[in-house]
């Protein structure tokens, strides 16, 4: 009984051992990070000051941290969604990349600039979503047709997408801006103003864009779909026992296709937000690291959408702070990866003790 209550009441869930273990792992990893900073003979207070400055030091850095968290949250929510069907989407990186490419292509050359009603940015966003969904669906098709493990296929698709991005910004036939001289950078033109995402405050010193409310709505909708709808139940059934689910009339192929396509679509949307909301110019490597951070946020959340958002915020601020530490206090941002890797490893190991919990 007590187990049921702790699993289904909000308070019991908030204080569950798994949350406590997650917090302990994050804390331990952060302490190791501080120890490393100390070993690097950088002043720890200086590093911490630089870290805080990069996260909440100014309205700009606060908004930038939240924007970063949005991308992580979308990829993480997609991971959790597909993982409900026991699918592991590790292709966030590539899905972001194709989303960014599609959004840029439509914003620059789709003739959307003069359309009414927000269409100038909504259509590029739609293109990003479709591109990401397509990238996810490839992995689903391979899984359904050939039984290919989606971990491998989504990873390989990520590498392919990253080089596709490189190609599109290197080739003038694709998205590279016209070469006027030999110093022209390998990047796209800046997208037209009308295609940039509207800012919530309209003020560039606090560049929080409409991606935030959209992401919140998506999180709530998908949370409800997973917890309260027939489809959520079907996902879970396929995840727990595909053979039994199939006997109960749930199509395995359809479930795999939808869940991986949704995960991919969210990755694509994250790429679209990054491009149309912050970067405005498509560059090689713009997605670098985002997919993996989102993946880790999804892994840490243990199936909970609220957990994804918490982890995404944590990593968004960790990254922003880490970047500022590198610029100001000369602590390489790679430190953030060390901390993340430690968190994932500790939590993977901790699952053993959680499972054995009596009751």
């Amino acid at each position: 009984m007590s187990d049921i209550r702790s699993r289904y009441s909000p308070l019991g869930r908030a204080l569950s051992p798994s949350l406590l273990i997650s917090m302990a792992a994050v804390l331990a990893a952060a302490l190791i990070g501080l120890g490393l900073i100390f070993l690097m003979q950088v002043s720890v207070p200086d590093a911490i000051a630089a870290f805080i400055d990069g996260t909440i030091g100014s309205p700009y850095s606060l908004a930038a941290s939240i924007n970063r968290s949005i991308a992580f949250a979308l990829v993480g929510i997609g991971f959790v969604f597909a993982n409900r069907a026991n699918l592991v989407n590790v292709g966030g990186e590539g899905q972001i990349a194709v989303g960014g490419i599609a959004a840029t292509a439509v914003a620059l050359y789709g003739g959307v600039e003069n359309l009414p009603l927000g269409l100038p940015y909504l259509l590029p966003l739609l293109a990003a979503v479709l591109a990401g969904a397509f990238w996810g669906a490839i992995a689903a098709a391979l899984k359904i047709k050939a039984g290919t493990n989606e971990v491998i296929s989504t990873l390989l698709l990520s590498f392919i997408a990253v080089w596709l991005l490189y190609w599109t910004v290197q080739s003038e036939h694709l998205l590279r801006k016209p070469m006027t001289n030999s110093a022209t950078l390998p990047e796209s033109l800046e997208i037209p103003d009308a295609t940039k995402l509207p800012l919530l405050t309209g003020d560039y010193s606090f560049p929080l864009h409409i991606g935030l409310p959209i992401t919140i709505v998506i999180a709530i909708v998908l949370g409800v779909v997973l917890a309260r709808t027939l489809f959520g139940l079907q996902l879970r059934a396929v995840g727990l026992n595909p053979a039994a689910a199939s006997r109960a009339g749930i199509s395995y192929a359809r479930t795999v296709l939808i869940s991986l396509a949704v995960a991919g679509a969210l990755g694509g949307l994250a790429g679209g937000f990054m491009l149309l909301g912050e970067q405005y110019v498509l560059k090689d490597g713009f997605s670098s690291g985002y997919g993996f951070d989102g993946l880790v946020a999804g892994l840490l959340a243990r199936g909970s959408i609220v957990g994804v958002i918490a982890a995404a915020l944590l990593f968004g601020f960790l990254r922003s702070g880490g970047i500022n530490m590198e610029m100001v206090a000369e602590v390489p941002t790679a430190l953030v990866m060390v901390i993340q890797g430690l968190i994932v490893i500790m939590l993977a190991g901790a699952a053993y003790f959680l499972e054995r919990r009596p009751g």
Binding site: K145, A146, W163, F292, P332, V338, G341, V344, Y352
Partner: protein
């Protein structure tokens, strides 16, 4: 295509395939025993980094190689403990290790070498088999290679023999197919899997060291660039057979070599497409081009007594 060009192409294919061959055969052994070892990428990067640092600090590439092998042991142990003793999700563990290693080696490189980056690191010497090296045209271009390549081929041959003809090889196979039966016969599934993961670590560190102190004589951040994942793909492509895995690695090596060869032949193919080619081939391969897949039955499942 002249003979010279062909010889250079074959030589560079073999050279570029070597890190994949070493790591791929290592991964094959783990997977045969039932452990899907996603941390190959991290293990290779560890080997590449530690070997480069060791060689740079001591001036002795051989000592560097030894340090590379030693440095991978803790990484392999983390993977082994988590995936066997703690029965953690093997994929999550592997990805965690890869992130940790990428961060740690980047950090270590910046701290240790950073300011002196682009320093040439003493590398392993070249060797060509007696006789073969004197073949006209092909002798130099194809057979004169870093000695680690030949040592690696020898280890791979021994691995193939052990897998096929020894009782331990059969036990490895059984641990991945019928772990319960292995347990009933009195052998320890856990022990077999620990050994196999450590072996994967050893082979991956050789592969990584080949990249840094064998091939290009320097270390760059994240220099494995997905080679570990290609190694995993080669195992799938090769249908969990050693011969197939080797062929897949050679194919990926040849695909990589094309990016350097085609431009010299004046064939204009977008560079990005060529860099993408091994991954594209790997995707086609795991996507059923190689036929229906026959993974070890207990692959990826922690064994519970």
């Amino acid at each position: 295509m002249t003979w010279e060009v062909l010889a250079v192409f074959l030589g560079s294919s073999l050279r570029l395939a070597t890190p994949l061959l070493l790591a791929g055969v290592g991964e094959l052994v783990s997977e045969r025993a039932g452990v899907l070892n996603m941390s190959v990428e991290g293990m290779m990067l560890t080997g590449a980094f530690a070997a480069a640092i060791g060689s740079w600090a001591t001036g002795q590439p051989l000592i560097g190689l030894g340090i590379g092998i030693i440095a991978v042991i803790p990484v392999a142990l983390i993977q082994a403990v988590l995936s066997n003793t703690l029965r953690a999700n093997q994929i999550v563990t592997g990805i965690g290790i890869n992130i940790l290693v990428l961060g740690a080696t980047t950090l270590g490189y910046r701290e240790l070498i950073g300011a002196r980056s682009r320093t040439e690191i003493p590398g392993l010497s070249m060797w060509s088999p007696p006789g073969l090296g004197r073949i006209p045209v092909f002798g130099d271009a194809l057979f004169e290679q870093v000695w680690l390549l030949y040592a690696g081929l020898a280890i791979i041959a021994i691995t193939a023999l052990v897998l096929r003809y020894t009782s331990f090889g059969i036990a490895i196979h059984a641990a991945g197919a019928e772990p319960r039966a292995v347990d009933k016969s009195g052998l320890s599934v856990s022990f077999i899997r620990y050994c196999c993961v450590l072996f994967t670590g050893f082979m991956s560190s050789l592969g990584g060291a080949f990249l840094s102190i064998g091939d290009i004589h320097t270390f760059t951040e994240g220099m494995t660039r997905g080679a570990g994942y290609l190694a995993i793909a080669s195992v799938i492509f090769g249908k969990w057979k050693i011969g197939g895995t080797i062929l897949a690695c050679l194919l990926f090596g040849a695909a990589t070599a094309l990016q350097f060869q085609l431009p010299t032949l004046g064939i204009d193919v977008p560079n990005a497409l060529l860099i993408m080619l091994p991954y594209l081939l790997a995707l086609l391969a795991v996507g059923g081009l190689a036929g229906r897949q026959t993974a070890p039955r207990a692959l990826g499942e922690p064994f519970r007594r």
